[in-house]
Symmetry: D2
Subunit: 276 residues, 4 copies
């Protein structure tokens, strides 16, 4: 079916990779796309690393074709946002690893981890970013974040809408989007969230695709494993969508989930692997 | 401040008009913009009428410059969606007036009001649209909608995200977005919603602006009266925003609302009227 | 298993009756309970009729043992509330049938249907009640309710927490609790809700049981067909619970629903019918 | 006004004490009540300590009259629940301090902190309790809790419905109820929550009062500082309510909050202190 489309958007986790590494055989899919000259892009709700680092992961696994320019992440939307909104000299406070903030710093912005902030001296803090669930002490730093945001009203960005992510075959971990939900509930404030299923994520990828090729939205296929992000977001943006059963949505539950959610993919496939 | 921007986006209700008609003096604003050659667009969560009819309203009031091509409505997003998704020959069922559906029909699509549907014969119904709160019997037709959507799983579009709208100085009415929330709660399904604050609405206007002028997002000013739609949506899309106090947000509550919501406009003004 | 309990609480719809009438064979269950001298009570989220009328329905179907004193309804809680809270001479406005309000009037309280209220003369209206989804025009009267409650701040009671109810084998209807949710969402206010799973409903039945028998809570069995009302409410109140599969929870979905909801009944049975 | 009531229920934090200690002058209130022979009780959403420890705090501050039997806590409801529901020999896993679990253990129940659980050996774990926000590592133990509850379906109890609590004049901290909300959102399951505004908390206090005195519900006055717990819960249970402005609800916001919430106390007072 891929042949009928001019471009393909892929979700990353559950489609191209899982907790063990690359999905076996996925390299065939990209060989096929290269051969047919169909451009492809990876859309990921990941703000913990830069596109450079994300693409390096694929290249280390032997998938050389996933270059930096193929990666569109919710972290990029967050960085773009801060670039236009932060006054020169001011800083963005954040929850996450130093690595997750380093990416924002490459745009010339100052960042401060919440742990290093003095709550009595916050004049230079202009905005706040939820970047990664790692790199800080939850007990101390979540409460400190709450009290910073009570003390000074500022725009808050959540750079990853996911509330959890898989860490092994059976186990999951709270994602930074889940921690942001907790803080938002307690403050009763409204944060700005970037990531699928939001249209802005699909727009970012679509604008990138337009640099490579003339294409209408309904000539693009979105491949994802999650109804609530990839499929409903793709449908709404006017893409055709395929639900793959290699991740979040298990084969024996797919029909029940589609029926109960009302989110209907254009196609359903076992995986994103193309047999050559 | 308007002088510093290359284009202006206006919300309609509470900014350009209210329940009594045009906001007095608003014609000066457009005279100014025309003189300075700054293009402007009206973004409205209104799916009850076509852009043609919406622009006619302004022209009847003497604001000739609000032509059809200046109007961007959530109803247009719904129509675009159906144009790419509905199989030839199939129909869209809807709640709303005949007028609200007529707009979809101009795109060559078949529509059927829920009242005319035979629940034992729904093979040709491919999708459902919430268009307008008027034009049907709530007691009968809301329940019939629920049972149609229980009987057949289909994509449901809500063409107006607003849950209410003002009908006089003191009174409001439930909007079709509110009725859609009720149906969604009872079904436990996920509808596709078009309208501010969603990025897709701002994208529609931005793409229209690009046909007239070369402009970056942060060179555009969004003028709105509602923090939860105009301002947070504009901020997120990368626009500068001005909150006007002539509508939803009353002058004596503006600071409290901004503080408690965490939604911070770039500017605050009494109204969108420019004194010449 | 019933033998091990000193009293039994029954949900009504889906347990004792369905849209066609009494559940076939249910009379055996009550013969058994009478023989064993185990008292029983019916707990229902029904505020559309008085306990007298509710018990008459059972008696008309031949179940003479369901006398008025066996019925505990959320409407009774609403009436009790108004009896202590309404100032002499003032009135309760309501949405519902005249019949649903008649029950409140038997307590000496004045009631006014929303349709008969003059919004410019509301000094005597002290409280508002959502009683029944029938008996009024949804288009007009829901909006009028919203504007009454915007005009005058008053305590609002929802006498039935259910959001929908079955009207035939396949079809459902919005219940008054669903309409109350819509109004509450639009107003952003907090209504007082009576009905399962709330403890106050179980307390009403428990206090009634104590008039007949000495019994501790964990010596009572709650029989229900709905995890989210009967079972979680019974569990929390300290009762043992049995989920019957003759109503809301279908046999092939019971395990999935228990697993995904985390609401665990003490027992699961096909129905509440006891084979003699 | 207190003279007209046969009993008084007090909230603790914001009414009797704050982050600095006892509210100055509050001892007069209890002198007055003792003199008039009006019994009083303290209702607190606190599951971190036993009633013994809670009463000791007051006695250490010189308020000897707040004896253990005057204290009714949500932790007591949790303990009662486990006493009837846990099979002999099985254990309750928990998040909280050892102290918070010690209280459950006095009832003869086994408890295990989540940190000591082996996820491959959970047969003896029958239920889970959220008890206190302290005493564990949030990063590790919240994720471990999520994976335990994914692995084994069990009844989960939240022994404190509050989502945050004040730690100093300006700062707050996430309460265990907030952490439970996060876990519940990620799991999509339904937890059992104990604490105001739930009727079961007021029932616990009412049953205690009935041991001391013959009293109807509308002869009791509930004194609280929070509309969403003390006041709406008291109103619904049939008590008269007084909102005091010494805690959560600041004097200059009281009217706005009552208007926007629709939660209307019977009276409003500056504080619970009675001038003798």
């Amino acid at each position: 079916m891929v042949r009928e489309y001019k471009a393909v958007f892929f979700d990353a986790f559950g489609v191209l990779k899982n907790h063990q590494g690359l999905i076996p055989g996925i390299e065939n899919t990209f060989k096929y796309l290269e051969k047919k000259d169909i451009p492809y892009y990876v859309l990921t709700n990941d703000s913990s690393r830069s596109p450079e680092e994300l693409s390096k992961w694929y290249q280390n696994k032997g998938l050389d074709c996933i270059t930096t320019d193929k990666i569109l992440s919710s972290g990029m939307l967050a960085m773009e946002f801060f670039m236009t909104k932060i006054t020169n000299g001011n800083a963005v406070a954040f929850l996450g690893t130093k690595q997750s903030a380093h990416y924002i710093e490459t745009a010339g912005l100052k960042t401060v981890p919440i742990s290093e902030i003095d709550l009595d001296n916050v004049d230079h803090i202009e905005s706040f970013a939820f970047l990664d669930d790692e790199g800080f002490d939850w007990n101390t730093d979540i409460n400190k974040t709450i009290n910073l945001l009570r003390k000074k009203n500022m725009t808050v960005v959540v750079a990853n809408t996911d509330i959890n992510y898989p860490v092994s075959k059976n186990d999951i971990s709270v994602a930074i989007g889940g921690l942001a939900d907790l803080v938002e509930e307690i403050l009763g404030k409204n944060f700005i969230r970037f990531g699928k299923p939001d249209a802005q994520m699909f727009l970012l990828a679509y604008e990138r695709a337009l640099q490579d090729i003339q294409v209408k939205r309904n000539e693009i296929l979105m491949v994802g494993d999650t109804l609530y992000t990839d499929i409903i977001g793709g449908n709404k943006f006017g893409l055709d969508t395929v639900l793959v059963l290699s991740g979040n949505t298990l084969p024996d539950m797919a029909k029940i989930r589609i029926g109960s959610s009302g989110i209907i993919p254009t196609y359903i496939c076992e995986s994103a692997v193309i047999e050559l």
